[in-house]
């Protein structure tokens, strides 16, 4: 008998038919002889609707009361799912985050889980019940209701799985696993049976919107085996776990593309200490997330600094950069929002030199110019013109042996 934690997102429980569908899956897992704990998100757009209601009352509502309001979303889901499972004849109980004892810090609207108490969960499981837990929410030691911020239900699922030492934490989404590339862009993409936490982290932050990076990190830290599955079919999913050296058969596991990229360059920057700091502190103050940064020595004592931001932030970022340019006496600011980022990810890269060179060669053969490069131990990313993104992804996917037979 395995102990399985399942997490269903908001689209999976949007409306009575979908709730019943999830109930059937949960009951099937139980009847196959497993203990089951289920984490659910708020139905569909409920969280967004609640936020809109709050903003009709106050442009800037207190975070504590926001959490009080938002926590009703998951409470609605757990009650309805428990009813649907009860209707199928299985013993079941729903529990809010506070009822489970999901202890968080007191940073309302983006609290962090400090501890998950197992007492209540184990007691209900011991009574033979399926246990439904509200995702996204917890309680401070002062009995205050908190929420975990975006992707919080994934984090709840992984934290509960870690606390219970579950055999697997299945994350149900609208895709049935992690692919070597987005199949809409690269038709030859294959589903990966296994991927390492680190690769998943890189893919997650590169725009493969399957798992929240925070929950993958949490899984890695707590050795929780994750499985990404679809709630709309019965296909085998993708396991996310620690992959041993021997298992690293593929040098590159996936190719990712991201069009939400704009590149800004500050030209002819005097080569003095503190210049980069001035620029990036100013950007951080405006809550602008900077992704890649490249500084290149062009001539003696003069640099160019180039960096990328999300396109939503472009205008504000250009304004800030222009202000800094005037202060430090750089020559000009240029920007380009017709660029994209293409990346290859693979844990095998560490032990296979020449992968980056291979990537550059592949892009060169396709006649694609590279504007910026950034590397980590298991990833190489290049900024290219957006128009070439699809061609680049397909070429790299083929080059690194990822196309399906």
């Amino acid at each position: 008998m395995a102990l399985i934690v399942q997490k269903y997102g908001g689209t999976s429980v949007n409306g009575p038919e979908r709730v019943k569908n999830v109930a059937r899956r949960v009951v099937n897992t139980r009847r196959a002889g497993n203990e089951v704990v289920v984490i659910v998100s708020a139905p569909g757009d409920m969280t967004d609707d609640l936020i809109a209601m709050a903003h009709e009352i106050s442009p800037n509502p207190p975070a504590r009361e926001m959490d009080m309001l938002l926590a009703t979303g998951e409470q609605t889901s757990i009650a309805l799912l428990a009813m649907a499972i009860y209707e199928l004849g299985e013993p079941v109980i729903s529990l809010t985050g506070p009822q489970v004892g999901i202890l968080t810090d007191n940073v309302h609207t983006k609290a962090r889980i400090l501890e998950v108490s197992c007492d209540r969960l184990r007691r209900e499981l011991a009574e033979g019940k399926i246990v439904i837990v509200a995702g996204f929410q917890g309680m401070t030691c002062d009995n205050e209701i908190t929420t975990l911020g975006r992707g919080g239900s994934d984090t709840t699922a992984v934290a509960v799985a870690a606390a219970l030492k579950a055999d697997v934490c299945q994350i149900y989404t609208d895709v049935d696993g992690v692919y070597t590339a987005d199949p809409r862009v690269v038709p030859a993409a294959r589903k990966l049976p296994v991927i390492s936490y680190d690769e998943m982290l890189e893919l997650a932050s590169l725009g493969a919107q399957v798992l929240q990076p925070r929950s993958v990190e949490f899984g890695k830290l707590n050795h929780v085996v994750l499985e990404v599955r679809s709630s709309f079919n019965d296909n085998e999913g993708t396991l996310v776990k620690e992959v041993t050296e021997l298992e690293k058969k593929m040098v590159v596991s996936g190719v990712a593309g991201d069009r939400n990229v704009a590149r800004i360059a500050l030209h002819d920057v005097p080569d003095r200490p503190g210049i980069a700091k001035a620029l990036f502190v100013a950007l951080a103050r405006e809550s602008i997330n900077v992704d890649m940064i490249v500084q290149s020595a062009m001539r003696d004592g003069i640099n160019d600094i180039a960096f990328t931001v999300g396109r939503d932030d472009l205008r504000k970022a250009v304004e800030v950069t222009e202000r800094v340019r005037a202060e430090i006496g750089a020559s000009k600011v240029t920007y380009n929002d017709r660029v994209a980022k293409v990346s290859i990810v693979g844990a095998g890269m560490i032990t296979n030199p020449g992968v980056a060179a291979d990537m550059f060669a592949c892009l060169a053969e396709e006649g694609i110019n590279i504007h910026m490069i950034s590397t980590s131990e298991i990833k190489v990313s290049c900024i290219i013109d957006e128009e070439y993104l699809t061609r680049a992804m397909q070429a790299l996917h083929s080059r690194f042996g990822l196309d399906k037979e």
Copy 2:
């Protein structure tokens, strides 16, 4: 400085403008130098919407999960009201029933309050905050969420007022007080400045839908002064409290009418012990609420039994009565759903004999036939043909000196 508990119903917090309106009233009460605790219901039809959602999943959902679901309604209200008060610049905090420590028994969907803990409430008040409490909900000693059933928010308000020894518990509704009769039926009706708990109880159960009988009983037991007010104007309301003998100036305080009445009669019942029991046990098993019961000896050894039920229950009640008729050998069952109940209520009746006779005389003078009579210490009710209800109410209102000058 007074400690005032205010309760606002669902219509008062339906939509952002109404929430802001309630916030202004609460803040005004606070700024007038009072400590304020506010109890709110779920917005508008939210409770009914949630029940409908549950029934799309299960025809008969488990009561515990129903409570889990329904409790989200009031949690939504308290968060939004707290945001609106915060927006007006007053310190405020919202608390769920469990957070306050409203301890109930474990009869889900109609739990009874066992105890209200004052610790958290007093601590927040001492910090100068307006405290918003979710009505209708509580927690068992096992940490389970419960709801109190219909009118539960009124009960929460009275229980919180009793626990805090509040100076007054103001119940805000869509009428601005308790009237000597429904002003839509009796245009001469006057608002009562004061009414006793017992009179209010009789009026409440006679169809004057102002206060839930349970909350009035609770107020009486705990000596909580209630005040019924409108949330849409600033008129003085009606105080509900213990009225001393000296204050009982009026013999009759109010006239009530109820059209939701159907009369059933079982004819030629053999006069044996256990017949009435057989009938009313059978009706109770079908959860049919019986109001008035009259048994009359017609001839030697043969009785008629007549009783009234709500019109929704008529068909089922006739079926049950027909079944019992066959078992016990009575002659026939008749029924009439074109009847109504007219009642006079007044604490002064106890010490003023002849009030009932006065009532019958008044109805006779109007040419209105009486089908059934039922009396208590402070109430006389008559079943009459429905077509005469308005005339009866107006005549009685005038007869007992209730018309406004």
